[in-house]
Symmetry: C2
């Protein structure tokens, strides 16, 4: 936790729900920190100032980064390139740069190209959020108790990765280290594919069907309520890993259609029991915090 | 509600979670009712007696049904045939017979064959439950606020259907009338298919993936925790409607794979936005009770 104490000045690029929450959490962990906010829209910056999330507001990332020990990119991933280009020449030596993007391989490739491999950039994916958008919904405890994946490459010095991990730990997160592509394959299977399936499921009901919908349908389609713009970015930047996961899923689905068409009750029960066992085991092996999240 | 007052004696066949809860709810709505419980295992019957769900216990459905105005079948659907055969010759004239089974076409066909078309059987599917099994978890308010689908056939007198609807309304349920096959097609799309997808989804993660699983994965796989035996019966008795829904889903999935492979961000956003709109509209059009269930 000590590490946050060495950050006297931080810059948050993109002061929405995630950027604003990170700013509030950082301030809670280290009350004397000064925080610069960078954004495209003055109105959002003004709101972030008013809410106390940031101390100064800037339309250009180059302005504050000369005096900052930490830059956090929290805009949509599609907007990273211009900000990285702007801040690259102005960055204070020794500063660390990280982000909150939901996909990592492309982002990390881009950041290493624009800022250099081997630092100062290390990718992060704090797995927290809300269906709400905007700094008005930011909360200092948004990240608390959740997992943050930190994604160094073979060029990243271990000490730099460790500094980024200590940062998220100071904001209350459990950290997990993965390569950018391993991260993307894992989230394709446990996050992006489920989202796609929920959206597809929402297309299926015909008139009157929803009269018989109950909590099962609610749970199975909840992800389809997510923000279409944000999910468009996720699906396009992690396209290859999601297509791989969809291929595998489509093949499993086809096997199951065969199983049902055969109508062997024993085989069907075996399939259902195996899925239940995997879910029950996942719960049993989870940490208490993750267990709560799964139940 | 008045109708429950005309039931002085009821028989519940299968005193588990649903049968036990129906017995408790009936007693709460009409305190003077006498309730006979029928089951295969004396231990379950003893527990139901101890909990006050039933007044008398029987291993043979023929025993109590000579004096009963209502028979409720609440065993697994696979066990309906022997019970219907046993009670058919002993049934009191004017009694109504209904059930709580999750699939209807097969059940209704069987009951009309064994008890006669045009009464006394009308199928029901009270859409309430729990992942827990057994009379120990029975609650008088299990059905309260939920939907019950009542499934008459073209042979069923309207007055008989109305009596069954009044029964469920007296237990606090909203009733919806559908043909048995329309019911089965609708639940295939909004309940059985989601269950199958949740089970398939649970098979996908590889070692380490669950480190990055969050609430989305929890919600999307919650159904996979259901009882394999019960779901085996549902998937086999509603096989044809589920296969139709799976065909349609597999075709939609294949279209989406094409959309992602093309990588057109606009098309992808359109798909996501349409799914979100359908979900938001569903919530907006729901009754307040159903809205709570969907959010």
């Amino acid at each position: 936790m000590a590490d946050v104490g060495t950050i006297r000045h931080a810059t948050v690029v993109g002061v929405g729900l995630l950027g604003g929450s990170a700013a509030l959490a950082l301030r809670a962990a280290s009350p004397s920190v000064r925080i610069a906010g960078v954004g495209r829209r003055q109105a959002s910056l003004d709101e972030a100032l008013r809410l106390g999330a940031i101390d100064t507001a800037h339309l250009d990332a180059a302005e504050p980064v000369g005096q900052t020990e930490l830059v956090l990119l929290a805009t949509p991933v599609a907007a990273f390139a211009p900000h990285l280009r702007a801040l690259a020449p102005a960055l204070k030596p020794g500063a660390i740069v990280t982000d909150v993007g939901s996909t990592k391989a492309r982002v990390v490739r881009l950041a290493e190209r624009l800022l250099g491999a081997g630092g100062p950039f290390v990718g992060s994916h704090p797995m927290a959020g809300s269906e709400r958008k905007g700094v008005a919904y930011a909360r200092a405890d948004l990240f608390s108790g959740a997992t943050c994946v930190v994604t160094p490459t073979r060029h990243t010095p271990d000490e730099l990765t460790a500094r980024v991990e200590r940062l998220w730990a100071a904001l209350g997160m459990r950290t997990v280290r993965m390569s950018p592509s391993a991260h993307d394959r894992a989230v394709a299977r446990v996050s992006h594919l489920p989202h796609v399936l929920a959206s597809l499921l929402m297309m299926l009901p015909q008139t009157g069907d929803l009269d018989v919908a109950a909590t099962g349908f609610r749970d199975a389609t909840r992800l389809a309520g997510g923000d279409p713009e944000m999910w468009r970015d996720i699906l396009t930047t992690n396209r290859r890993a999601i297509l791989d996961a969809l291929d595998r899923f489509a093949s499993d689905l086809s096997d199951l259609q065969g199983l049902l068409a055969d109508g062997d009750a024993g085989d069907i029960e075996q399939f259902l029991a195996k899925a239940k066992r995997r879910r029950d085991e996942t719960l049993a092996q989870s940490t208490p915090e993750r267990r709560v999240a799964m139940e």
